[in-house]
């Protein structure tokens, strides 16, 4: 199990009012993302626990692209990864961000 942690400053604070959301599942080739609106200002933190070791460089790029694209200021993401492919990671991060923008459901 590898632990990774990335901190970014987003362009803007994430919209919406919801405090937290959970997307995905912990399964082989998949991942679970818990997102919480707990950080001040435009800070953004992504904490990863992954079963697949040695992919730090790829995670770094996937996370940086995500922050650049979605501006998730104020959000903390905790990821439980079962060895998901980068495209799945990017999708789950985007889904998590959208879930917080949601209509409160």
């Amino acid at each position: 199990m590898e632990h990774l942690n990335y901190k970014h400053t987003a362009r803007a604070r994430a919209t919406g009012e919801k405090k937290q959301a959970l997307v995905g599942v912990v399964a082989s080739g998949n991942l679970e993302v818990l997102v919480e609106r707990v950080l001040p200002g435009n800070e953004c933190e992504i904490e990863i626990r992954t079963a697949a070791e040695g992919f730090g460089e790829v995670w770094k790029e996937v996370v940086a692209d995500f922050v650049g694209r979605r501006s998730p200021g104020g959000l903390k993401f905790s990821i439980n990864d079962g060895g998901a492919r980068p495209d799945t990671v990017a999708l789950r991060l985007a889904q998590a961000a959208r879930a917080l923008e949601g209509d409160g459901t």
């Binding site: 460089e57 790029e61 996937v62 980068p86 495209d87 999708l91």
Partner: protein, 548 residues
């Protein structure tokens, strides 16, 4: 005085030798090996029928049981190396040389035998190419084929899985060869005659149907959101602008997703009647919802598919069927149809390099080609125009006078940037090249050559290679959709951005697609059971696809 009928007399002698075991044309299954030892001679070219679907499995087992002191040095010329027996004949020293097209499930073992020198490889072909050679320089002396049933005169009913049989028999029977058929039953009257009895010399009653693999069944339950995203990109970014009506799909999950999006996303895009109406395609269960929703006008099939027979029988407006009502497939004709009468091939692959060459050969696995290189290539002999073909030709060569410009077939590779076990689809160097070096092959086993590929679709976007004007542009266009693979991360970002501005690369957002809309709820069927419902209970999936 010269002698012009040596072949005919040799065939008569072979038949006479086999007749010892026969009553009329009928040979008991217990005598199958003895029959083969009597009819086949050392060094013969033998076609043991089998492709990616049907198998002459009884005859394969009978050949393996032959005495290598009697039968040896055979040259196997066959579509598929699929059953363990197909390789056992090499291990036992019965066969020595091999010319083939496809080897899906045996891909690892065939690689081992090639490296070990147990198999002398002629070449790996496409189906149509091997069939062509049956009539020029690889004509079989003996063909071992499979049929559903025979009558007492040796007429054969090959049924929905007719596939390669007429081609194999044509080449063998009309050039002094001997045709031996295994059948599931001998009956008084056949439902229809697929092979006339005068082309069949011996018939063995196997007492059971020949083996068929359900290779074209994709469980909608296993389709991922990323595959759905690639399917949305293909529909909106390729099917729609080119107006692709005549096409072939590969067997992967990405194209299965496209089939299942036609009645939902495709309908929303207003594409019904404008795309995907005429097909060269096996009876894919995942196309049932589109057929039932009125998208499809007609389909010609290479082979059949397990469980689809009753559905096909009830949809004769769509499929080619015989007087008995069941499907008539024909691999040679369908491959020809895919080559000359389809405007697009779209399918998946395992590796793509920086020039766009693709291959399904990976270290230790030689899967062969099947039909993909034929479907996935531009037919230089094509002369009839169509909208997609003309448009693609114009994109590739805008400077040429329209009336002198060749059209182009759309050859689309679709897939996720990372495949199973996180293996990247994009590579700097194909494993196929290493294999060619190791085996000292003149040609690396390339499935689709880069100059035939027109588009590459991944979750990151579409690269239109028709619009690339040189090798650098092509390389950056490929890197530009290669995602987080090493190839993708080594892109020249500014170069890729310029390609995007020119429309060479199109991202989901450039096409108005939000990746978050790629949801499994878009699939017209989300399980095999849903497919059964769509078919009105006519589709009968094989047990391994039933979980209810």
């Amino acid at each position: 005085m010269s002698d012009w009928d040596k072949g005919r007399r040799a065939r008569a002698a072979r038949i006479a030798a086999g007749t010892r075991f026969a009553q009329g044309k009928r040979v008991d299954a217990r005598d199958a090996t003895a029959l083969l030892e009597a009819v086949i001679q050392p060094g013969d070219r033998v076609c043991l029928e089998g492709d990616n679907q049907k198998q002459a499995d009884l005859l394969a087992a009978a050949l393996v049981a032959a005495d290598p002191a009697v039968l040896h040095d055979l040259h196997m010329v066959q579509s598929g190396v699929v059953l363990p027996e197909h390789l056992d004949v090499f291990e036992r020293g019965i066969a020595r040389r091999l010319d083939y097209a496809y080897s899906g499930p045996q891909s690892q073992r065939i690689a081992k035998l090639l490296f070990g020198g147990r198999i002398e490889l002629g070449a790996v072909h496409t189906y149509l190419e091997l069939f062509a050679r049956y009539f020029i320089d690889l004509t079989p002396q003996v063909a071992l084929i499979a049929a559903v049933s025979a009558d007492r005169n040796g007429n054969l009913y090959t049924g929905p899985n007719t596939e390669d049989t007429p081609t194999v028999v044509e080449a063998t029977a009309f050039k002094d060869g001997v045709v031996i058929a295994q059948v599931g039953a001998i009956v008084d009257e056949l439902p229809r005659v697929d092979i006339p009895g005068d082309q069949v010399h011996f018939v063995i009653d196997a007492g059971r149907p020949f083996f068929v693999e359900p290779l074209f069944t994709r469980d909608p339950g296993a389709i991922t959101e990323t595959q759905i995203l690639t399917a949305m990109l293909a529909l909106k970014g390729i099917y729609a602008p080119y107006g692709v009506r005549r096409l072939n799909h590969g067997i992967g999950f990405n194209t299965a997703a496209i089939e299942l999006l036609l009645p939902t996303y495709g309908e929303r895009l207003g594409l019904k009647g404008k795309v995907a109406s005429h097909w060269a395609l096996n009876p894919h269960p995942t196309l049932i919802p589109a057929i039932e929703s009125g998208w499809v006008e007609q389909i010609h099939c290479f082979g059949s598919e397990v469980g689809m027979d009753a559905y096909i029988r009830a949809r004769s407006d769509i499929y080619f069927t015989g007087a008995d009502g069941s499907l008539r497939s024909n691999r040679a004709f369908c491959q020809t149809a895919g080559l000359y009468a389809c405007d697009m091939f779209i399918g998946s692959t395992l590796q793509i390099d920086l020039a766009g060459h693709s291959s399904t050969v990976t270290t230790g696995r030689i899967a062969g080609f099947g039909g993909a290189p034929n479907m996935g290539s531009d037919a230089r002999g094509r002369r009839h125009p169509s909208e997609p073909w003309i448009k693609a030709g114009a994109e590739a060569d805008p400077g040429e006078k329209a009336a002198l410009r060749r059209g182009r077939k759309l050859v689309v590779q679709i897939g996720e940037t990372f495949g199973e076990k996180n293996t990247p689809m994009f590579v700097e160097k194909l494993d196929a090249l290493e294999l060619a070096e190791k085996l000292k092959l003149d040609l690396a086993p390339i499935m689709v050559y880069g100059d035939d590929v027109t588009h590459i679709v991944t979750e990151e976007g579409i690269a239109n290679l028709l619009l690339c004007r040189d090798a650098d542009e092509r390389e950056q266009a490929i890197r530009g959709v290669a995602g987080y693979t090493d190839v993708g991360r080594a892109r020249d970002k500014a170069f890729v951005q310029r390609l995007r501005e020119r429309g060479v690369i199109r991202r989901p957002e450039d096409l108005g697609i939000d990746p978050l809309d790629a949801d499994r709820r878009l699939l017209a069927a989300r399980s095999v059971k849903d497919l059964v419902h769509w078919s009105g209970g006519l589709y009968a999936p094989p047990s391994k696809f039933r979980n209810w």
